[in-house]
Amino acid sequence: MQLNSLTKHHANIEVAQNSDGTVTLTSVGDWTEDSIHSDIRPLDNIVAELHNTNVLWDMSAVSEVDSAGVMLFINYHDQLLTNNCAVSLIGITDKHKRLNTILRRHNVSKTTEKNTPQPQYFTSLFQSVGKATVSFITEIILFLSFLGESTLVFLRSLIHPSSIRYGAIVNNIGKAGVQALPIIALTSFLIGVVITYQGAVQLEKFGANIFIVEMISISVTRELAPLITAIVVAGRTGSSYTAQLGVMKITEEIDAMRTMGFDPHHFLVIPRVLALMIALPLLVFFADIIGIAAGMLISKLHLQLSFSEFIHRLQNVLEVKHVWIGLIKAPFFAALIATVSCFRGFQVELNTESIGRYTTTSVVNSIFLVIACDAIFSVVLTELGI
């Protein structure tokens, strides 16, 4: 019943030139939003070409009108009047009249769009580069001031250690550390498997199977475990920090905290940063063990290197400093991830779209910073000969 209303006749106007010089316009079809289609455009030209004529406009064939139809009618009617045409209307329904009055009352005079001068192509390049540079510098300044505020709040809380939110820290360690164990275990196991397989093929060629132990243990503990763990944590915990704080900003919880005298840095940022700085080294140590265990398993299966041989060799070749270097990097990575993601969370604006945008930015930034920080460690430690 009502469904057939979807297939309505297109709105249109038929133009007839009378012998006495007058023009008869006959509207046909339904003049409703479903039946006005963009192919009505040519009518604009027809109506625009009528000048100084007597126009008889017959609307009696129109079966249904709504605001859209009457709006279209008003547009054409006004154009005819500005073209000095004398318009007489017939067959206007009551509904049409009523809508006409309402629409005319609320029809805002065509807003004269301010024509902003179109930028030239080559200047637009400079413009976008300039804008990007300025926003990059502003971001850095904002980040530094955020970092400064957090540090200040942290130092102040050291004077009164009882004011530190230990409950929140423990809670965050649970979420960022304990709950991340399964995914860290899986990732580092697979990393161990991958490098053992790749190394085994090469070493077998030289009959140097036993060196697989050095290869796995040093690369995993010194570089791979910290890096992979930090990247997983940046994706998992960093994004959730940004989203949490972003939502709190949208729901004005952060403003509420400020008005109640709870410093959001003290209550939200510091516990998260500290929690991650405690949790990440532990996760890295866990990843070390799993990664080496995976290597040991694959060595046995693929290179026929028994577990006891592997462990004996491990004790001789893996210097403790490699493990320590891996573990020492972890708190730095954690601090970067946590501060960047909290900073991005505070940057969220009052619309839902920005949560997604800043969460993405936060993860990309943290991963980049973690890798950059790792590179600095590599260069410095190698130069120092460690």
Binding site: Q2, L3, S38
Partner: protein, 255 residues
């Protein structure tokens, strides 16, 4: 009963152990402003959500514009969704779109009208709900609470709906703003031939705006009818509502 646009019959709704509706029946006539009243948790918002197909009742029938919202086909439901406008309590404007884009979105998606005509209609609707023209280019986050309500009302009436559902239209507005908003709804009803269903607590709205109303309580409709009929009822909740201090003060002034 012939001109009923919405009929609700013996609706039962249960969320786990919590029984919300136990045989709720009411009908809403063409062209009236119908109020759904009740205390917190009486299920009035739930009933509204069932009418607009966001929730399904466990038992019973709801018919809107002759379409059974529980059992009808997908095509009929899609048709029905284009016949109404809904104003959510917090506006629910799409925050990534400007006000003008919010209002234009269903016109652009569902019709093939030329874009200039759509723009004309949008600026007309913005004016109709009493917003200044510059609001069109703003994002929802840049609007005040009252403006958000008006803008989302403009979005709700963008396609000349037959039915308008309002969830607590005057909540979050100052008394003057709320009164103006009520007037606006009455005006729009006359202008656009609307049938309006509103969930409300606001005593002023009930006295000045609503034609008929139903009071929900004890999982049922306690009473349905015009304001006088409802006020005459002796149920304790209605007595508390209409003959409490605020109600008495309001009754003295009448309409």
């Amino acid at each position: 009963m012939n001109n009923a646009v919405i009929t609700v019959e013996n609706v039962v709704t249960q969320f786990d152990e919590n029984l919300v509706h136990d045989g709720v029946s009411l009908h809403i006539n063409q062209g009236e402003i119908y109020g759904l009243l009740g205390g917190s948790g009486s299920g009035k918002s739930t009933l509204l959500r069932e009418m607009i197909m966001l929730l399904q009742p466990d038992k019973g029938d709801i018919t809107v514009l002759d379409v059974d919202v529980v059992h009808s086909s997908t095509a009929e439901k899609a048709w029905l969704r284009q016949q109404w406008g809904v104003l959510f309590q917090k506006g629910a404007l799409f925050s990534s779109l400007t006000v003008a884009e919010n209002i234009a979105i269903s016109l652009k998606e569902y019709t093939d009208m030329p874009i200039s005509l759509i723009n004309d209609l949008v600026s007309m609707k913005i004016d109709m709900v009493g917003l200044p023209a510059y609001v069109a280019k703003l994002y929802p986050a840049e609007l005040s609470g009252g403006m958000v309500k008006r803008a989302s009302l403009a979005r709700a009436i963008a396609r000349d709906p037959k039915l308008l559902f309002l969830d607590e239209p005057s909540s979050g507005l100052d008394p003057v703003g709320a009164e103006k908003f009520d007037q606006l709804i009455v005006e729009l009803r006359t202008m656009l031939d609307l049938t309006v269903v509103m969930v409300t607590h606001d005593l002023d709205s009930i006295f000045t705006t609503v034609d008929r109303l139903a009071v929900l309580g004890d999982n049922k409709v306690i009473v349905e009818g015009s304001l006088d009929e409802v006020a005459a009822c002796n149920h304790s909740e209605i007595v508390a509502f209409f003959r409490g201090k605020r109600g008495q003060a309001r009754m003295k002034h009448g309409k």
